[in-house]
Amino acid sequence: MNWRAIWSIYVFEMTRAGRTLIQSIVAPVISTALYFVVFGAAMGTRIAQIEGVHYGAFIVPGLIMLMLLTQSVTNAAFAIYFQKFIGTIYELLSAPISPFEIVVGYVGAAATKSIILGFVILITAFFFVPMRIDHPVWMLGFLILTAITFSLLGFIIGIWAGGFEQLQFVPMLVITPLTFLGGTFYSISVLPPAWQTVTLFNPLVYLISGFRWSFFEIADVHVGVSLGMTALFLVACLAGIWWIFRTGYRLKT
């Protein structure tokens, strides 16, 4: 293992994030805080509670998930795509490092950034709504696993993408809608039975449900199922990465 190389990539990426602090931390926090204010404060007065949880608090896990998913994908996708775009990827390809080490460096940095972001949003939430965390270890587990999994997905997208607009495609047009429809703002049980069934085909339902369970012990599906789905995603992304490096897909000519 070339640990120094992994560390170099990690530090390089974290430094880059530090330079764009406003963009990478402040902007997502402000937009999430707006959700708290609009939904939590304004609508929370009308929808009093869901299963005994204040509505403003109920939406927090879903909103953190939304940020975690989109930011993990975007960060990792942008980082590797940028190297490809300006050609500096030559340095990675000609260094004595394995593809696995490259992935650990980039995905590690992207996941770290979105985990930090998740915490910042969580702390912000405590200022706006009555929060509680019933199972902090599970909460942390879901947070870390999801960040890693979706950073891997972002890495794949970054390698696949042929232009900057394609980097935005998955976070904007797939993840965001699926998160909104996946029970961020409501419990699946309020939907008509037919829609409940349809909703279960939305993979993000499982992530949001499990994450919310770790806060309030309320869930749309059993927490074990959520964990299983998260693991399944992780394995699928790892398989995708393995295939990319085995074939040199879009990396080497």
Binding site: W3, R4, T253
Partner: protein
């Protein structure tokens, strides 16, 4: 001594179907400066990129320091530094950050002293805290060299190091390259300027359309190429060359109005004085004389066309 780089039967066919390299065999000796000379599109960059791990070969075997570039890529790549043809560098890091990053990628521990030495060698020490985006083109190119050197490679590839570079910087680069060679680094540079190969290299390889056409010691090559021609324009056309001038192996051209004498500039006696004397003695009157040296470009084109 075994060659530091050995290339055997190397082929590359790009996905487009284009055959960029055709069974290339080449050995690079330890410590030499080797110039790979060839026109645009000859396959120079492809060859370098394969050795460095950026392009996957279609067939063939390459070893660096005895290590196979595919099965033993870590050991092989550790020995190699690459300065690519284009300025490929992230804009917002400082000179110091970007060179330290390169060293880290090669798994070397941070060594501020060594970084300082490399940056001083390429005259960038004063700019170490500057962001790349604020540097001139020539400085960026030197940063690229520093990045390639900072992991202490034994072999340095310079892909067209002086293309589009002004005279002053070119001199500077040559100076840096010579210093490196003196410190024992093997250098392979590609160029399409013959003068550059002539000035810098110990050996020269000529590549065209994916094939190595010729590999020669520079001194031998230059000797072969160091021919000049003297053209004598005659007052009256000649039907044939007078017998007493036979030893000069003259050519008769331009409808008998010109005599062409080919001589070696590096020979002790060029024979020009004798020729002029004998011309007068043979009663051949001439209006004018001129000498021409085939330009390096012409020579190069001749090699490629197989005339030399």
């Amino acid at each position: 001594m075994p060659p530091i780089i050995s290339i055997a039967g190397l082929e590359k066919r790009y996905a487009s179907g284009l055959q960029a390299l055709k069974r290339v065999d080449l050995e690079i000796r330890k410590g030499e400066i080797f110039a790979l000379l060839g026109p645009n599109g000859a396959g120079k960059t492809t060859l370098i990129n394969i050795v460095c791990g950026i392009v996957t070969p279609s067939a063939g075997k390459v070893t660096v320091g005895g290590h196979d570039i595919q099965s033993d890529y870590r050991a092989a790549r550790s020995l190699v530094g690459l300065v690519p043809q284009e300025l490929l560098i992230t804009p917002f890091e400082t000179v110091w950050q970007t060179t330290r990053f390169s060293r880290g990628l090669f798994g070397k521990p941070g060594d501020a002293g060594y970084l300082e030495k490399v940056l001083k060698d390429v005259a960038l020490w004063d700019r170490r805290k500057s962001k790349i985006v604020t540097l001139s083109g020539g400085m960026k190119r030197r940063v690229m060299i520093a990045k390639a050197l900072v992991h202490e490679p034994q072999v340095l590839f310079l892909d067209e190091p002086t293309a589009g570079v002004d005279v002053e910087l070119r001199q500077e680069m040559w100076h840096v390259v010579r210093k490196l060679r003196d410190s024992g680094v093997t250098i392979i540079l590609t160029t399409h300027y013959i003068e550059e190969a002539e000035l810098m290299a110990d050996r020269v390889g000529v590549i065209n359309r994916g094939e190595i056409v010729l590999v020669e010691e520079k001194a031998v090559l230059m000797h072969k190429l160091g021919k000049k021609q003297l053209t004598v324009q005659l007052a009256q056309p000649l039907a044939e060359i007078p017998a007493r001038l036979a030893s000069y192996k003259l050519g008769l051209g331009h409808g008998g109005r010109e005599l062409v004498y080919t001589y070696d500039t590096q020979a002790e006696h060029t024979g020009i004085a004798g020729l002029l004397h004998d011309l007068a003695a043979a009663g051949v009157e001439f209006k004018d004389i001129q000498t021409t040296q085939s330009s390096l470009e012409e020579i190069f084109v001749d090699i490629i066309k197989g005339k030399r």
